[in-house]
C-alpha cells in the first residue's frame, strides 16, 4: 500500500523518477473503469461515494477513490476534507482513498489523476471513483478523465434546474438527484426530465441520460445508481465508443504531456538572470523569445515531465 501511495505522490509532484516507474509498471497496466462524480458544494457527493464504496465492497470489488479539492491558489496549501465521510473504510485494505489538491498548475488535476488511475489499476483497484467539487473548471476535467460521469444535484438548489451551471448538463452521463428525503425532490427530477426531453443534452446521441434518485444518508438508491453506471459502461463498450474515446484521450493526454514539458522547460529557460530573461526584457513582447525556446526544445535533452 505504501509503495502505491508513494508512487501517486511522485506522479503528483511530477518527479523525475516517474518515467522509470511507468516503464516498470508497463506490463501490469490494467486500466480500471473510472466513474467521475461532480456537483456543487453541499450536494452530498462524499456521502454518496461512501455509500457506493460500501455497495461495491459487498460485491467484493476492490475500489479506489480520488477526492480532489481546489487548492488555495495563493499559497499552494489546501485543506482536503473529503475523507471524513469515508473513514469507515479506512481499515479495509480493498479500499484505497486518496485526497488530491489541484496544486494550481495550469494542466489542472487531469494529468496527475490519469497517472494515478493507471497506478491504482496496476495495484488491482477497479473501479476508480474520481470525485470533485463542482467549482471552476474542475468538473470538465473530471469528465475528460472519467468513463462515466455522474452529476449530483439536490432538491435544495434554490434556483431550480434552470440555473444549473452552464456545461454541466452536457458532461453528465447520469444525473443523481440526491437527498431524495427532502421536499422538492420530485420537482427537480420532473423539471430535469422535461428539459432533457425537449433538448437532449448528452453528447452521445444514442445515450439517454438517466435520472437516479438517491438518499445517500439512508443508503437508498445506491443499487440503482450502480446499475445505471453498469448499463452506461455496456452501452459504451457495445457501440465501440469506449475504444474510440480511449484512443482520442490518449492523443489528448499526449498533447498535454508535451505542453507540460514545454511549459516547464520554458520556465527554466526564462529563469531570472539568464540570457533569455534579459532578451525578453529588451523585446517587451514574447514571440521572438518563444521561437528561441522552441528551438532549444528540439535539443537533445531527455523528456522528463
Amino acid at each position: 500500500m505504501r509503495a502505491l501511495a508513494r508512487a501517486i505522490t511522485m506522479v503528483e509532484r511530477r518527479d523525475a523518477e516517474v518515467r522509470e516507474l511507468q516503464q516498470a509498471l508497463r506490463d501490469r497496466v490494467q486500466t480500471p473503469y473510472v466513474v467521475g462524480f461532480t456537483g456543487a458544494p453541499g450536494t452530498g457527493k462524499s456521502t454518496l461515494v461512501d455509500a457506493l464504496v460500501a455497495l461495491l465492497r459487498k460485491r467484493e470489488r476492490s475500489v479506489a477513490v480520488i477526492a480532489t479539492d481546489p487548492n488555495s491558489p495563493f499559497t499552494g496549501g489546501a485543506i482536503l476534507g473529503d475523507r471524513i465521510r469515508m473513514q469507515r473504510h479506512a481499515l479495509d485494505p480493498k479500499v484505497f482513498i486518496r485526497s488530491m489538491g489541484a496544486r494550481g498548475h495550469l494542466g489542472g488535476l487531469s494529468l496527475a489523476a490519469r497517472e494515478a488511475i493507471r497506478l491504482l489499476g496496476a495495484f488491482g483497484f477497479d473501479p476508480v471513483i474520481l470525485e470533485t467539487v463542482g467549482v471552476g473548471q474542475s468538473e470538465l476535467e473530471v469528465a475528460a478523465v472519467a468513463d462515466t460521469t455522474v452529476v449530483v444535484l439536490t432538491p435544495n438548489l434554490g434556483d431550480g434546474v434552470q440555473m444549473i451551471k452552464a456545461g454541466i448538463l452536457e458532461i453528465a452521463d447520469i444525473f443523481v438527484v440526491n437527498k431524495a428525503d427532502l421536499e422538492g425532490h420530485q420537482r427537480v427530477a420532473t423539471e430535469l426530465r422535461s428539459m432533457l426531453s425537449l433538448a437532449p443534452k448528452s453528447q452521445d446521441k444514442a445515450w439517454k441520460q438517466p435520472i437516479v434518485a438517491t438518499s445517500a444518508t439512508r443508503q437508498e438508491g445506491i443499487e440503482e445508481l450502480w446499475a445505471a453506471i453498469e448499463s452506461h459502461r455496456k452501452h459504451r463498450e457495445a457501440g465501440g465508443k469506449a475504444k474510440a474515446q480511449a484512443e482520442q484521450r490518449l492523443k489528448d493526454e499526449t498533447a498535454e504531456v508535451v505542453a507540460e514539458i514545454a511549459r516547464q522547460r520554458a520556465r527554466e529557460a526564462l529563469a531570472d538572470g539568464g540570457v533569455l530573461a534579459e532578451r525578453l526584457r529588451e523585446d517587451g513582447t514574447p514571440y521572438e523569445v518563444a521561437e528561441e525556446i522552441l528551438r532549444l526544445l528540439r535539443g537533445p535533452r531527455e523528456l522528463t515531465p
Partner: protein, 138 residues
Amino acid sequence: MSPAKAPAKPVRILLAKVGLDGHDRGVKVVARALRDAGYEVIYTGLRQTPEMVVDAALQEDAQVIGLSLHSGAHMTLFPAVVSELKKKNATDIIVFGGGIIPDDDVEELKKQGVAELFTPGTPLQDIVEWLRKRFPSS
C-alpha cells in the same frame, strides 16, 4: 501570519482527532493556519482510532501526522499511533500532538516517540516554524 511562497512540493500533513471528545476548535484553527502556510492538510475528522489514523496517513502518503485530543486519553492514544506506525514500518512519518497535556506527560510522550506537543496558548506561528525546521524545503 504572512502568506508563504508556494512550496513547489507541498508537505502533506494528516490531521486527526483521536479519542472520543468532539472539541475540534483547535484542530480546525491549526488546519487553516497550515493551509495558509502552504501545506496540504488532510483532515480525517472526529473519533479516529490509532489504526484508522495510520492507515489513512499511509494511503495519503503524509509525511506528518498531527493528533488532537482533549479528553485526557493522550497517554494511551498518542503512543498507540506511534506503535502502529512501527508495526507498519512507517516510522519516518513524524507525529505531533496538541491538546490539554500536563508538562510531565509532554516529557513522557516525547520519550515514547511523539516529536512535539503543543499545548493551549501556543501561537500558530510556533507550529508553522517547527514544521519549517523539519521540512526546510517547504
